[in-house]
C-alpha cells in the first residue's frame, strides 16, 4: 500500500495499526461507500468520481479521520451527523457501523464506550431467534445486514453462526431505532416484503435487551433463559411481546368448559395428540402437566378441521367411558369450528412459532404416525410440534428445527 504524504510525519508505531485497519476495510463489500463516507467526513465533499474513489488512500483517510475526531465519541457523533444528512441514511448507518467496528484499535477508548454486550446475552438472543419458525428468513436478513450477501441455500444457512451475526449487527447499529431503520430499508428491497417484515420485527424484539443496556435494565428486559431440562418449561414464562388476540383462546376454553368436563376434554385431546389415555398414574400426571390451553393450541397447529373432525371422534370412541369421551369430542368440535373459520391461512405457522417460543425447544412429535400437515406452507414445514413432555414417552419423536 502506498502511504500518503501526510502519513510520513506520523510515528512508526502508529503505522501498523493504520495499515491493518486500511487493509481490513479494503476487504469490505461496501468499500466504495466506506470511502465515500470517509471522504465526506474528512473533506465535506461528496465524492462520486469512480476513478478517484479507487485511487484514494484509505490510510490517509484514516489519519485524517483520527485528526478530525480524536475520540471515539467525536467520531461517532461525526458519523451520525453525516449519515443523517444523506438520502440513503439506512444503508450508510451500516457503513458507519462497519467503520466504527474496524477503527476500534485506533481509538483506545472505543471498547469501553461501545460496551458490546455479554456473550451470554448474544447466545440467548441467538437461541430465541433460532427457535423461531421464520428462523431461515431471520438468518437471511441478518446476513444481508452484516455481510451484504444474500444466501438462499438452506444448507449454507444452517452453517451460519447466529451468535456471530447478532454480535456483528449489534456492533453496527448504535441504537434500536437505527437497527429498525436499517432492517426496514433492507426489507423494502426484497420481494417477500410481508414475510421479511415479520422476520425484521422478530429481530428488533430479540435485540431489545442489547439496547436496554444503556438504561441499566438489561436483566429486566432480558427474555427468560430457556431451560431445556425436563419439566422446566412450566416455570418459564412466555417471552412474547404483545400476544395478539388471535392467540387468545379464553373464549374457546370457556365454550368447552361450559358444555363438557374440562378433565374429559383434556383426556380426549391428549389421546389425539399423544397416546390413548388408559387412566394410568403416569398418564394422569402427563395430562396435568399440560394445560387445556396448551393442548388446544397444539391441536389447532397440527390439524386441519377436516382431519380433526374425523380423528377426534375416532380416538374418543376407543377410550374408556367412550360415551362421555365422544360427548367431550363433540363439544370440542362444535367450539373449534367457528374458530377455524376465522383462522388466517398462516395461523398454524404462527401458532407453531408461539408454541415454540412459549414452551421452549423440547418438542415431541404429536402424532408421528400421521404425516405432518401444514397449511402455513413455506418455511415452517420442518417445525416441531411443541408439546412439552416432562415424562419420557415411547413415541418421543425426532427433534426438528
Amino acid at each position: 500500500m502506498i502511504l500518503g504524504a501526510s502519513s510520513s510525519a506520523k510515528s512508526l508505531a502508529m503505522l501498523l495499526p493504520f495499515d491493518e485497519v486500511a487493509q481490513e476495510l479494503a476487504q469490505e463489500q461496501n468499500l466504495t461507500r466506506i470511502k465515500k463516507l470517509l471522504i465526506y467526513i474528512c473533506t465535506q465533499v461528496w465524492e462520486s468520481d469512480r476513478s478517484y474513489l479507487d485511487q484514494v488512500s484509505l490510510v490517509d483517510l484514516l489519519h485524517d479521520l483520527r485528526a478530525i475526531a480524536p475520540t471515539a465519541e467525536q467520531l461517532q457523533s461525526l458519523l451520525d451527523t453525516a449519515v443523517q444528512s444523506l438520502s440513503k441514511a439506512a444503508e450508510y448507518t451500516l457503513v458507519s457501523g462497519i467503520i466504527m467496528t474496524r477503527v476500534e484499535r485506533l481509538y483506545p477508548d472505543m471498547g469501553a464506550r461501545r460496551g458490546l454486550a455479554d456473550e451470554d446475552l448474544y447466545r440467548a438472543i441467538a437461541q430465541r431467534l433460532e427457535q423461531n419458525a421464520g428462523g431461515d428468513r431471520i438468518k437471511k436478513l441478518l446476513l444481508l445486514a452484516c455481510k451484504s450477501t444474500w444466501v438462499p441455500d438452506a444448507i449454507q444457512l444452517a452453517e451460519v453462526n447466529l451468535t456471530d451475526l447478532i454480535r456483528d449487527l449489534h456492533g453496527l447499529t448504535p441504537s434500536l431505532v437505527t437497527l429498525q431503520a436499517v432492517l426496514e430499508s433492507l426489507v423494502n428491497t426484497l420481494s417477500k416484503r410481508a414475510e421479511y417484515t415479520i422476520a425484521s420485527n422478530e429481530i428488533s424484539n430479540a435485540f431489545q435487551p442489547l439496547y436496554a443496556a444503556t438504561t441499566g435494565k438489561v436483566a429486566a428486559l432480558l427474555p427468560p433463559p430457556i431451560d431445556l431440562s425436563e419439566g422446566a418449561w412450566q416455570a418459564s414464562q412466555p417471552a412474547l411481546s404483545q400476544a395478539p388476540d388471535l392467540f387468545d383462546l379464553f373464549d374457546l376454553r370457556l365454550e368447552i368448559m361450559r358444555y363438557t368436563n374440562p378433565y374429559r376434554a383434556k383426556v380426549v385431546l391428549f389421546s389425539l395428540l399423544h397416546e390413548p389415555f388408559t387412566n394410568s398414574t403416569e398418564q394422569e400426571s402427563m395430562v396435568k402437566s399440560h394445560t387445556l390451553d396448551d393442548l388446544l393450541r397444539v391441536m389447532l397447529q397440527t390439524y386441519k378441521l377436516s382431519e380433526v373432525e374425523v380423528q377426534l371422534l375416532s380416538v374418543a370412541k376407543n377410550l374408556e367411558d367412550a360415551e362421555d369421551c365422544v360427548q367431550a369430542a363433540q363439544v370440542i368440535l362444535g367450539a373449534i369450528k367457528p374458530f377455524y373459520a376465522h383462522l388466517p391461512n398462516n395461523f398454524r405457522a404462527e401458532v407453531a412459532e408461539i408454541a415454540t417460543a412459549f414452551m421452549g425447544s423440547q418438542a415431541i412429535g404429536a402424532n408421528p404416525t400421521e404425516p405432518r400437515t401444514d397449511s402455513g406452507g413455506g418455511e415452517s414445514n420442518g417445525l416441531a410440534i411443541a408439546l412439552p413432555c416432562p415424562i419420557p414417552s415411547p413415541i418421543l419423536a425426532h427433534q426438528e428445527r
Partner: protein, 330 residues
C-alpha cells in the same frame, strides 16, 4: 361406612348421608347427584369422575380428596375443607364455596364459572388455566374476603370477575384474562400481571406498588387514584386508560403506549417514560419531577400547569403539545 354400602343405599333411593364417615373410600365415577353429605368425613376419598351435581357438602371434610374430573356444579360446599384436594379439571360451575378452605388445592383447568368464592381461602392454590368468569370473589367486609396469597392464576380466565378489595399480593397472574374485572381497592402489591389482559378493568384505588405489568393490555382501564409506585409497565398498552391522581412515582413506563390517556394530576416523578407514546395524553397538573421523557412522543398532549422543570425531554416530540404555560408548540 364402606363405599359399597353407600353406593347400594343411594341406589335404593336414600340421599341423606349427613356426617357419615367415608375416609379414603373409593367412590370413583359414582353417581351421587343431589346427595346430602353435609359434615361427612371424606378425607382422602377417591371421587374422580364422580357426579356430585347439586350435592350438599357443607362443612364436609374433603381434605386431600381426589376430585379430578368430578362434577360439582351447583354443589353446596359452604365451609367445606378442601385443603390439598385435587380438583384438576373439576366442574364447580355455580358451586357455593363460601368460607371453604382450599389452601394448596389443585384447581388447574377447573370450571369455576359463576362460583361463589367469597371468604374462601385459596392461599397457595394452583388455579392455572381455571375459568372464573362471573365468579364472586368480592370482599364483603374487613375479615370476610377471599385469600389468594401465593396462589397461581397463570392464564386464568377472570373476565368480569368481582375482586373488589381482594388480597392478590404477589399472586402470579401472568397472561390472565382480567378484562372488565372489578379490582377496585384490590391489593396487587408485587403481583405478576405480565402479558395479562386488563382491558376495561376497574382498578380504582387499587394498590399495584412494585407489580409487574410488562406487556399487559390496560386499554380503557379505570385506574383513578391507584397506587402504582415503582410499577413495571414497560411496553404495556394503556391507550385511553383513565389514571387521574394515580401515583406513578418511579414507575417504569419504557415504550408504554399512553395514547389519549388521562393522567391529570398524576404523580410521575422519577418515572421512566423513555420512548413512551403519550400522544393526545392529558397531563394537566401532572407532576413530572425528574421524569425521563427521552424520545417520548408527546404530540398533541396537554401539559398545562404540569411541573416538568426537571424532566428530561431529550429527543421528545412535542409537536402540537400544550405546554405548562399554555403555549402550543409548533
Amino acid at each position: 361406612m364402606q363405599a359399597k354400602e353407600i353406593l347400594e343405599l343411594y341406589g335404593a333411593g336414600k340421599t341423606d348421608f349427613k356426617g357419615e364417615k367415608l375416609t379414603g373410600a373409593n367412590l370413583a365415577k359414582a353417581d351421587f347427584i343431589g346427595i346430602n353429605l353435609t359434615s361427612a368425613d371424606l378425607h382422602s376419598a377417591n371421587l374422580v369422575w364422580a357426579y356430585l351435581n347439586r350435592a350438599k357438602l357443607g362443612k364436609a371434610n374433603l381434605a386431600a380428596a381426589k376430585l379430578s374430573g368430578a362434577n360439582l356444579s351447583q354443589a353446596d360446599l359452604v365451609g367445606a375443607n378442601l385443603q390439598d384436594a385435587d380438583l384438576h379439571g373439576t366442574t364447580l360451575q355455580g358451586a357455593d364455596l363460601r368460607s371453604a378452605n382450599l389452601t394448596l388445592a389443585n384447581l388447574q383447568d377447573a370450571n369455576l364459572i359463576e362460583a361463589d368464592l367469597r371468604n374462601t381461602n385459596l392461599a397457595g392454590a394452583n388455579l392455572t388455566g381455571a375459568c372464573l368468569r362471573g365468579a364472586n370473589l368480592r370482599e364483603e367486609n374487613q375479615g370476610y374476603s377471599v385469600n389468594l396469597r401465593g396462589a397461581t392464576l397463570r392464564k386464568a380466565d377472570l373476565r368480569g370477575a368481582n375482586l373488589t378489595g381482594a388480597d392478590l399480593a404477589k399472586v402470579d397472574l401472568r397472561g390472565a384474562n382480567l378484562s372488565e374485572a372489578t379490582l377496585r381497592g384490590a391489593d396487587l402489591r408485587g403481583a405478576d400481571l405480565s402479558e395479562a389482559n386488563l382491558k376495561g378493568a376497574f382498578l380504582t384505588e387499587a394498590n399495584l406498588t412494585c407489580a409487574s405489568l410488562r406487556g399487559a393490555n390496560l386499554m380503557n382501564a379505570k385506574i383513578e387514584r391507584a397506587n402504582l409506585m415503582e410499577v413495571d409497565l414497560a411496553a404495556a398498552n394503556l391507550q385511553g386508560a383513565i389514571l387521574p391522581d394515580a401515583k406513578l412515582g418511579k414507575a417504569h413506563l419504557v415504550r408504554a403506549n399512553l395514547t389519549a390517556c388521562n393522567l391529570a394530576r398524576a404523580d410521575l416523578s422519577r418515572a421512566n417514560l423513555w420512548e413512551a407514546i403519550l400522544r393526545e395524553a392529558n397531563l394537566t397538573d401532572a407532576y413530572l419531577a425528574r421524569a425521563n421523557l427521552t424520545d417520548a412522543d408527546l404530540t398533541g398532549a396537554s401539559l398545562i400547569r404540569a411541573e416538568m422543570s426537571s424532566a428530561n425531554l431529550t429527543g421528545a416530540t412535542l409537536r402540537g403539545a400544550m405546554m405548562p404555560d399554555g403555549r402550543i408548540r409548533e
